[in-house]
Symmetry: D2
Subunit: 150 residues, 4 copies
């Protein structure tokens, strides 16, 4: 409640780092969000300031980001913004983090083949669940290694 | 300027319809955005109201949506909201449309393999262009059929 | 969870209607959100489509809207979007409602004198409460008639 | 284009500082945006992380903010997010700025008396202008000091 939700569109600036923590799996990457400035006199666009965010994807989203997102790819991220200020070793640090609710590839820049992940472990996906899984991929029915949890 | 931008997360409710218009290609589909209600007494979630939108994707985004998005898939859409009211044949109609800026698969629900589309025709991609295409897929260099419907 | 939150900026198109319901007070008004189109060739702006929404403000927000907002005033509204479709008497109706979380006057268009409302009845303000009331206006301490309809 | 727009709701943490710059007037203040955490087990809310932003209001908005907004007041701000990173004197600094498009008092917390500012100087208000001023305050017609900056 009263969270600052943001939707940002940019490019993955670092290879996602994946960890299995006691609180669940998490994938983390830096996102570069360039802006474009319009010059009315010249009637042209030029590059403006670039915002950088650290994106955190937890649970099923983290697992799927790890299996789907590479450095350089264009993505859209929706999530909760956290601006943090700290003092470490006499240094002043601030970071802008986004705890992602949704991550997706930006289809204005390319195509994507999507594959729904079977809800194998309700504990992982329940918080984000909004409908039953409609299609059960053959591979998972056959007991082959699931694409999640790698 | 002063547009009502929205970000919605839901399921593709109809097969995208693709048209080549004089103003460029466009893909259109219905999006269902269910909400979940929290019951404090029962400490449970139940289904709430479902919003429906008609999503319009133009130019390169339309072409890539046509080549990537199927009915039933979970997506995130960011775009400009249009609420329209009309009188047709004595009937009163309102529709809620979204002119999409970005569409992407919701990776909290599955995995996706992304492929950047080479900017073959500047006229198609210029309005959405924010950086040069970094990698040129081999298939397109070799003149093989492209995965998108150009 | 998974609500479609929107922030809209426009003009109050109808006098707010105030009701005391069993579930609490509510104020309702129509909001007109005009858009402006930019013409690159002419380098000018012109009027575009206008979106209309029905805004619902509940509890303390409803009481304060009733005491503060008049037809014609420019406001910003943040809330949950509801697009409704119904069949009534053989007619098809759709409406776009916003359940407001915050309403405020648009200070790019004028000035405003703000007065914090003392939290007299916790039941009214608790859901929106984010901090203790810091200042207690003299008038209310003295038992003078309050500007809001409590 | 491709700006990261945010809408934040919080409390004014510092007295707005007003400057007349060659590029126009500007008002600047710090905004504290607290979040609330829900504890499902205890069924209670507690304070979470607080985000701090520096809000910049330019031109007519800056003048009206200066004349309307005081430290401690609850406001809603919509604008463009800028996350800046710099090295100064061997120190690493980051700040999260919002270039405000709209600022308004949060009416869920109190009441406000609004007064439209006559467009006396087109150069100040043109960029934000979306409709003609409907009412002409008497004071301005009579050549009295302007209602802003009091």
């Amino acid at each position: 409640m009263n969270e600052t939700m943001v939707t940002v569109v940019g490019n993955v600036a670092t290879t996602p780092v994946y960890r299995e923590l006691p609180t669940g799996p998490v994938a983390r990457f830096r996102l570069a969000v360039p802006t474009r400035k319009y010059d009315r006199v010249q009637n042209t666009w030029s590059d403006g300031h670039t915002n950088f965010f650290t994106v955190w994807a937890w649970r099923a989203l983290g697992t799927n980001v790890q299996g789907s997102v590479s450095v350089g790819e264009p993505v859209i991220v929706q999530g909760r913004l956290r601006v943090r200020d700290e003092e470490r070793g006499g240094q002043h640090w601030t970071s802008a983090d986004i705890e992602a609710v949704v991550v997706g590839h930006d289809l204005s820049r390319g195509t994507a083949a999507f594959r729904r992940v079977l809800k194998a472990n309700p504990a992982l996906t329940e918080p984000a669940l909004r409908e039953p899984a409609l299609r059960e991929p053959a591979a998972e029915r056959d007991g082959e290694p699931s694409p999640v949890g790698r």
